[in-house]
Symmetry: C2
Subunit: 253 residues, 2 copies
């Protein structure tokens, strides 16, 4: 094997939230395989590289994971610097282990470069810390996945005991998420905030409550959305609820 | 008020894991207030700035939060670009809300710039994703804090239902942490990995199990340490347990 595969986090969207290390690797890259949500300014840093889109987005055409693995191994045979660019952080909700295992098995050297995950960026956008003295000392990062029958809301179980919850890929099936959280013991009145397009100029925040997620989600566009839930959002939600208590109101950055 | 206070994440330690945005702000900064664990190469980017250390570390001298707030407000009165540089991410375990509230109250404009949190960096170091298909779809970030009597292990409650747990500030009181996790229902045999000095050349990883944390922690130096717990570390721990099953063995990066 000639090359190294760098599995690099591209961060939440804003090209300025890339790490220095990631920027250096992109400048050196011979070939870059990137996700659907990576900013074009970020890709533009890879001036020497061939750029290959392999992104997945719910419900759209995507490249099968096995084919991506094969392409990465093949690229490492011919190139010194192969960059696999993932939205957010590459070790959180990114099917990292499947790619890493395939590369290890083929004898390819891997280096992983962390990235800013959407929940951190969304917290900066809102100006509300995920943790807060006296209110929250634990944060759960979770993706909902709906099983069947009794196990339908298995994913929501840890969400009832964590102080703050960040739900990734949460804009679809908001009614199901609401049901799941309530079934797990979360109060319908618990404050919640959707953050769409975190870190970008197009970002949008919808302050709501756990019982009203379906209604709130209807105000979102088609961008990637994160849902934050917890008592730390009490003030954010209260500020958005003037004048009517039961209406989800959009707040600006 | 003349200036803006930028509350900026410095990342886990490696100066290359700073964001482009943070590097730009440091270059423009008139004054920088920084935590104890920020790398000197990172501070060196602030060529125009006065550098003020206000860091806290367990058991050492530190600047009281109220005095830091006062200094930040005062700095915003006299300078255009005031950078408050925090280790890791500024909105996770960093007492952000107290500073933000004090600045808001004084009429100071704030901007928050996210940073790479230690758990993301430690995962890159280990080469093990926090989430994994079929094994883990939820990750809890928590700091232990020991109450008294029945509530002694209140902090550990959400740790029993999350698939993967990242415990920050976990190198001290490892025996207490072990007791707390087990009392909350976590199996003593559950795989665990201490990562000290994540992202730095001096980083160290100790693979162990929840029942053996106290023993494993004795092998750590004095650097900041994170504890990762979950079935996703099964292979990491198994690899370190050759030849004796019950001994915590240090593994190299």
């Amino acid at each position: 094997m000639r090359g190294t595969v760098y599995r690099v986090g591209a961060g939440p969207g804003d090209p300025d939230l890339l790490t220095l290390r990631a920027a250096k690797l992109l400048r050196q890259a011979d070939i870059v395989f990137h996700d659907a949500l990576v900013h074009e300014e970020t890709l533009a840093l890879a001036t020497r590289a061939r750029i290959v889109a392999v992104g997945k987005r719910c419900g759209r055409l995507s490249t099968a994971q096995r084919f991506i693995n094969k392409q990465l191994v093949e690229a490492a045979r011919h190139h010194a610097v192969v960059v696999r660019l993932k939205g957010g952080d590459p070790m959180l909700f990114g099917r990292a282990q499947e790619e890493i295992a395939a590369l290890h098995q083929a004898g390819v050297t891997i280096e992983i470069v962390p990235g800013i995950s959407a929940a951190l960026s969304a917290s900066a956008d809102i100006g509300q810390s995920l943790t807060q003295r006296g209110l929250s000392r634990s944060v759960l990062f979770v993706t909902p996945r709906f099983g069947t029958g009794e196990n339908r809301h298995e994913w929501a179980r840890p969400a009832s005991t964590a102080d703050t919850v960040a739900l990734y890929m949460a804009s679809r099936q908001a009614a199901e998420i609401s049901d799941g959280l309530i079934a797990a013991g979360v109060a319908p009145s618990r404050p919640a905030v959707f953050v769409e397009n975190a870190s970008l100029a197009s970002r949008r925040m919808i302050a709501t409550r756990v019982g009203d997620l379906a209604e709130a989600a209807r105000q979102l566009g088609g961008g990637p959305a994160l849902l934050l839930v917890g008592d730390v959002y009490q003030e954010v939600v209260a500020a958005a609820e003037i004048p009517t208590r039961d209406q989800s109101i959009q707040i600006t950055a």
